[in-house]
Amino acid sequence: MEKVLLRNIDVLDSHTLAVYRSRGGYRAWEQVVKDFKPEQLIEEIKVSGLRGRGGAGFPTGMKWSFVPKESPKPKYLVCNADESEPGTFKDRLLIEKDPHAIIEGTLIAAYAIQSNTAFIYIRGELAFGAKRLEQAVHEALETGYIGKNIMGSGYDLDVIVHKGAGAYICGEETALLSSLEGGRGWPKVKPPFPATHGLFGCPTVVNNVETLAALPWIIEHGSAAYAAMGTDKSKGTKLFSVSGHISKPGVYEVEMGYPFVKLIDEDCGGVPDGRKLKGVIPGGGSMPVLRPEEIAKVNLDYESVQAAGSLLGSGGVIVMDDTTCMVRAALNLARFFAHESCGQCSPCREGCHWMEKIFHRIEHGEGQRGDLELILDVSGNIMGNTICPFGDAAAMPAAAFIKKYRGEFEAHIEEKRCTVRME
């Protein structure tokens, strides 16, 4: 398989403009500015089948097409580089090793919706990555790829690298926009969608780093070449961040539809030290865990993972071996969500803390009969009752851990202690 996203990262000084250009960088951007009308570009990306890589998998070309062409308001393109989903570190790799690919993708997307101001919203903790992006923007500006009257086309575009300040919720697009508007990172009710009422109430598209980084390749090789990879409904390639109890953790690029077991056992060398797989989260910490027997026939595409009862999400694969205490794992994630809930919707604000407290008491030998039903009840009352997907993201994994490892949770309650040694 030809690499689309990781094609440059192993090259020395891949983050510099000189190296990026020597590998064909910015040719797509030159071509877009010269040959493409915005609507043609949108059509091209629609045909490629590219879907948003932030987690939701919404078709990218369609997202762009919702932006009203005749709006008198300014339009904004925002690159979501607020990677914070537990188990996900693919965007960070691209940001640090191939910032120009992200910038070139940002330029292409901005052109498609005819935006004159683009933001790259990067999580504040990634100081090194932000520096890399700022340097890359500076280089692109000096070369005339960004700025006024780009390559004589009459098209103007300014790119601003904006640092977040530590809040998981800002990865959710409407929360990100609230943060960028200068407020608390609170999600907004949809509809209206950002495409019509986004940043400062203006038409806005928010695209993930990985989505944007695929654009230069698609333009250069054609949407048919991209659509030729992957499955019927999940086209192209995708990055998977593999972590936890695995021999070779790291970021892997595979064609959509790649066998899950093959990724874990062959590419990543399987679970180390002769231990056995106990469970794996396929799409980042907010997705339901799968048991080993459940992944046997799963392929890494949106549809196959969903059919198995989880979601592909961000492609953050967290591997847990048979030494893992699933109560402790569930508690860890429940604590994460309790910490990160923005506090706007009461089911999430209250429910996340209750789930954490109850998991905590089960793990520490103070669980009570009925606690599992109580957590399932709380999680059921969060599901679908919040204005953003965070509530579901907190509720789904909690319920899945209990349903799939119920015996282990019951043993903790019966024996009033942790029955599995971890680490």
């Binding site: 300014p74 990677e83 914070s84 989903e85 537990p86 188990g87 996900t88 570190f89 965007d91 960070r92 101001t117 999580r123 504040g124 903790e125 990634l126 100081a127 090194f128 601003i160 904006h162 640092k163 977040g164 300040a165 530590g166 809040a167 998981y168 943060s179 960028l180 508007e181 200068g182 407020g183 608390r184 990172g185 400062f200 961040s241 593999v242 972590s243 936890g244 109890h245 953790p249 790291g250 970021v251 989260i281 910490g285 953050g316 967290i318 847990m320 893992t324 402790r328 794992a329 860890n332 994630l333 994460f336 910490h339 990160e340 923005c342 680490e423």
Partner: protein, 157 residues
Amino acid sequence: MALEFSPETYKNFEETLARYPKKEAAILPVLYLAQQEFGYLGPEAIEYVARLMGQSPARVHGVVSFYTMLKTKPIGRHHIQVCRTLPCALRGAEQLTGFIKKTLGIEVGQTTADGRFTLSEVECLASCGTAPMMQINDDYYEDLTDDKVTVILASLK
């Protein structure tokens, strides 16, 4: 004396404002400037930023209190932040925190008496493939062992 930016930081502040299509959008970069200049964002710093931005101190405080990287209290010169989320926890984050606590003689949330280190536990830092890991100020330290941590801490004065 009331807090205010040095002439250099003030210039930086004006340049920052000029970059943004709307003034209020620049609140995070301005708060970063203030935190860098004043060390942390206490009530006086918040009032100063509020005045600069033409907002109420309550609104600015509302922003500050939302984000974990904005500090309302002084912290040590080196802020050790150990990731505690699941992928790191599976690879020994708890032991790592325990080792740092023992080495420095402080609990999570505390600062050493000499003001050198503050220890915090934080959520996922997008470094799961190189767990366990910690961030100290702007820098990431990955694939950590006790020995590596000993060397790193000794190098930070």
